[in-house]
Symmetry: C2
Subunit: 163 residues, 2 copies
DNA sequence: TTTACTGCAAATTCTTTGCAACAAC
DNA sequence: GTTGTTGCAAAGAATTTGCAGTAAA
């Protein structure tokens, strides 16, 4: 497990900028890295409120998430639901996302060929890429299957009603 | 010019859904299609407020933009600045965007090979794509050039100061 | 005349901030 | 002791909504 290692990096990061390692920050850090799912600030706040430990306010959650992003310990992504979603950068490198509109599930994908084509497109326009945002919106495997089943059921019942 | 044609389509769209073609809606439609740039709801509202014509409230601007999206006359895109940006769908097909963080300029690009690779990625995960969002964030040609010049100037002046 | 639409202001949602009390260092 | 942090509640920013009056059809 390299979570201990990255936590040390976080502590060093704070020290270097003369920031303090408060119990709240430690708790937020631990909780955020304890999950491998994506979560919103509100969800993280809920977890912290329900689980035992020092009180952490919503404001501190937001402030610490910004801090973690500045230090490149976490990334935020806009999945188009009005709220930001966070993920830690423990290990896994760059990737893009597929967001299920039904259940909210987020899948990751990566294709180096797409990255290359992006660079090519940017070069053509003289554009200097700093970052990019690429997400596919639709239905994950299980929601897609469910929808197809429902559509079929509806079709059958319509046919029955018409007969 | 096919703007007249698409306007008729909009009128038909309203009629079919027993909605009314109010002077406000007509004005918003005309103004939105009169530009080939991307704009936010607020900017459109400003245009309408300053230019002569019937009064249009902010609420109506928002409501009409939603309506235009529902009817596929316009698309909205989230450029990551907290507000939505709109573009009409007059003619030009699907494309993605490059957003300049310095000047806000938005460039369009399209590469069918990227579209294919997206489909391939989705297929692998059993994901059913409904839409996607792909944007490159960085500096447009002129802002990029300006930044490079500034960086060089700063470097030169630092060197001079140190000597 | 009926039904939809508009403007207004209040409400919402997510996120940020000012400030006084407080905890790291 | 300093200096940075926290919690709270108020402030923001973009967008939506309830309602009473107004204008299309």
């Amino acid at each position: 497990m390299k979570q201990a290692e990255i936590k040390r990096a976080f502590e060093g990061y704070l020290r270097r900028r003369s920031l303090k390692l408060t119990t709240q920050r430690a708790r937020i850090f631990d909780r955020a890295f304890a999950t491998h799912e994506h979560f919103s600030a509100e969800v993280l706040y809920d977890w912290l409120s329900k689980e035992p430990g020092v009180k952490v306010s919503r404001a501190t959650v937001y402030r610490t998430l910004s801090l973690l992003q500045d230090g490149r310990f976490m990334k935020s992504l806009d999945v188009g639901r009005g709220e930001m979603v966070y993920e830690h950068v423990l290990g896994h490198g760059h990737h893009d996302h597929m967001v299920c509109t039904d259940c909210g599930r987020i899948e990751e994908f990566h294709d180096e060929r797409i990255e290359d084509l992006q660079l090519e497109a940017a070069r053509k326009k003289g554009f200097e890429i700093v970052s990019h945002d690429h997400r596919l919106i639709g239905y994950c495997r299980s929601c897609s299957a469910k929808r197809k089943k429902d559509a079929t059921a509806a079709h059958v019942s319509r046919a029955a009603a018409a007969s």
